[in-house]
């Protein structure tokens, strides 16, 4: 049984090169994700954020470079090869990617069935039930089909499935895209609380500046086919790269900054918090 990862960097990307025909998406990209942090990944459309995520989770074989997750090399293995890391991460795809012929609860059971068939049916159902609630869905959502859910609920259902195996690492691909502002900030709270409660490391791709300010410990900026900067938002603001300046100091960036400055960190607290509420200590 794999022990929890104790090293400092669960994800290490070195010299990553991705090409689609003539088009070079990544050229010598390097990135390290610290254990226990929420790393936000930003970049313009087409800067290869999703391709980076797909490379890390082994869906996209890079042309060159090395990727290690929990100290295991992803790049040296086949997409379907079992190298013991697949049960230790959860992935939330942009559209949720729920299996449309299964209910939400059954969707959550799929990874449990796949990796731990020895778990009894009762226990597996119990686990699926509380995971659905942990993701902030109402009780009756567990027996519904994905097509009966709204976009926001589908994202939460996808999150419940991503959390099914108690992963140490969580990948979120634009979790708040397409959500209304209230739903988006609820999702941000949820992400942060789950990270603290479950001790997750989160790799979060986003376009949402409010999400960056609200939940991310560090932010990695993708531009010019590389990670041009990694750091906290104040650290990034101190750099003079034109794209970063434009991104954070553009009208939308300013608006997000101001809203943080005006109401401080209590902005999100005033909104009704979703489950789980952490009251243990």
């Amino acid at each position: 049984m794999p022990k929890r990862f104790e090293g400092e960097y669960p994800i290490v990307v070195e010299g990553l090169v991705n090409r689609f025909g003539e088009q070079v998406v990544h050229d010598g990209l390097s990135l390290k994700v610290k254990r226990g942090e929420i790393l936000g990944v930003v970049g313009g459309s087409g800067s290869g954020k999703s391709v980076l995520m797909r490379s890390i989770i082994g869906l996209q074989t890079p042309a060159e470079g090395n990727i290690e997750v929990f100290g295991q090399s992803i790049t040296g293995s086949e997409p379907d090869e079992d190298i013991g890391v697949r049960s230790r991460w959860g992935v939330l795809f942009q559209g949720g990617a729920l299996f449309s012929t299964l209910t939400v609860g059954e969707n959550v059971e799929v990874p449990l069935r796949q990796f731990y068939p020895e778990i009894s049916d009762d226990l597996r159902a119990d686990i699926a039930r509380y995971k659905v609630m942990l993701s902030g869905l109402p009780e009756d959502a567990a027996s519904k089909y994905p097509s009966q859910l709204s976009g926001g609920m589908r994202k939460r259902a996808g999150l419940a499935r991503a959390l099914a195996l108690d992963p140490e690492l969580l990948f979120l691909d634009e979790p708040t895209a397409g959500l209304d502002p209230v739903g988006a900030s609820k999702f941000d709270r949820l992400t942060k609380e789950l990270k603290e409660t479950l001790g997750l490391t989160v790799f979060l791709i986003t376009h949402d500046l409010d999400t960056l300010y609200a939940v991310c410990d560090r932010v990695a900026v993708l531009a010019d086919k590389q990670v041009i900067a990694v750091g906290t938002i104040p650290e990034l603001l101190a750099t003079d790269h034109p794209w970063i300046q434009e991104y954070f100091n553009g009208p939308r960036g300013r608006a997000a900054q101001n809203s943080r400055a005006m109401v401080g960190d209590s902005a999100a607290d005033s909104i009704e918090i979703d489950k789980p509420r952490v009251s243990g200590d």
Binding site: Y116, I119, L123, M133, A141, T197, S279
Partner: protein
């Protein structure tokens, strides 16, 4: 090795038990102790977690379940364990995972009722769909610029030209089988030469068009349903509507026209190839020279046999295209529906074609085309 979950129960003087959990309580290990914990019959007063080395939400749930059942005190929980316990406790519920299931008698009668109403509604909808197509056709005739020429030609190619090899092969083999089997039976009366009549009349009147319609339903009707169905799922059809393009005019009419038109040509082509197949058998095993066989066809097959085939062909083509497009447009919800509708399109098209063929057979006999 610390990777295993273990438990032990100790009882004090009053019969109150204390459960000692140790090792790793993780999703990968709890199944080993799950049954053992379920089987504890001693009244538990407390659970000691001080020996637990690792815990995740599944481990926490196991403890939470015990505490819900036995009302126990939890001792020696680490900070992480406390957090997980409270989070899991908050999230505990007894929701159903599978959709609600009704009792058998309700389900059966409900199923029957839905089927009947669906059939009736389906019939009305098909008529409505046909009406929409006619309106669309009217529009296209009034405003010829609305006609999608390129789509039409593309469909002509897909439905017609691309299926020439498979329909040719099928018809050729059918011609061979009819001639060969027919000759064996006719030889009992010494009437092998009537094989020419048999092959010529049955392929032109019936089999050429019927088999082609079945093949086109399988090849093109299913493709129509799947294409249009997928476009419904990805909201392409809705996008068309909002831009002001009528999906009937853009998607359905080119397919229906192409299929109707091509069925005539394909049906004729199939009959001719089947006759050639028959002539090959005649040449090889009946001693009727190839060209004599073809000459004889001209003498023994009345022209109206050709008309019988050619009049049926466009009707069959229309039905196949209509079924494919109709079921495609009916797709809603999920990807499974695309498959279901595609199957329904093919099955209902073939069924309707065969039923109509029976009507045609009676009709043409009645008007004297025998």
């Amino acid at each position: 090795m610390s990777g295993l979950a273990k438990f032990a129960v100790e009882q004090d003087d009053q019969g109150q038990g204390t459960l000692f959990l140790s090792g790793a309580l993780l999703v990968s290990t709890v199944s080993e102790i799950d049954h053992g914990l379920e089987a504890i019959d001693v009244p538990l007063g407390s659970v000691d977690l001080s020996q637990v080395e690792e815990i995740d939400t599944v481990g926490a749930w196991i403890i939470c379940r015990l505490s819900l059942r036995h009302d126990v005190k939890i001792l020696g929980a680490s900070k992480r364990a406390q957090r997980l316990l409270s989070a899991v406790h908050e999230a505990s519920n007894d929701a159903d995972l599978s959709p609600p299931v009704e009792p058998v008698w309700e389900r059966v009668t409900g199923y029957l009722g839905t089927k009947i109403t669906e059939t009736l509604i389906g019939f009305v909808q098909v008529v409505g769909f046909l009406g929409q197509i006619l309106i669309g056709l009217g529009n296209v005739i009034l405003h010829p610029s609305k006609f999608r020429g390129r789509a039409f030609v593309h469909q002509l190619e897909l439905v017609g030209v691309a299926s020439l090899p498979i329909i040719g092969l099928m018809s050729f083999l059918i011609g061979i089988v009819i001639a060969q089997q027919g000759a064996v039976q006719l030889a009992q009366f010494g009437a092998e030469t009537l094989t020419v009549n048999l092959v010529g009349r049955i392929t032109l009147r019936e089999l050429g068009v019927l088999m082609t319609a079945i093949m086109v339903a399988g090849r093109s009707g299913s493709a129509f349903a799947a294409q249009i169905g997928t476009m419904k799922l990805t909201e392409e059809v809705d996008a068309m509507r909002t831009i002001g393009i009528s999906p009937i005019e853009a998607l359905v009419i080119p397919r229906v026209l192409a299929c109707t038109f091509m069925m005539v040509l394909l049906g004729f082509y199939a009959s001719i190839v089947a006759i050639i197949g028959g002539a090959v058998v005649g040449d090889l095993s009946l001693g009727i020279p190839f060209f004599t066989f073809l000459e004889r066809i001209k003498d023994v097959v009345p022209v109206y046999d050709l008309w019988v085939g050619l009049l049926k062909a466009p009707v069959f083509g229309l039905i196949v295209a209509l079924a494919g497009c109709y079921h495609g447009m009916q797709v809603r919800g999920n990807s499974e529906e695309v498959g279901r509708r595609t199957t329904m399109a093919v099955v209902s098209a073939i069924f309707a074609v065969i039923v109509l063929d029976a009507f045609f057979a009676v009709f043409f006999t009645k008007i004297g085309w025998v």
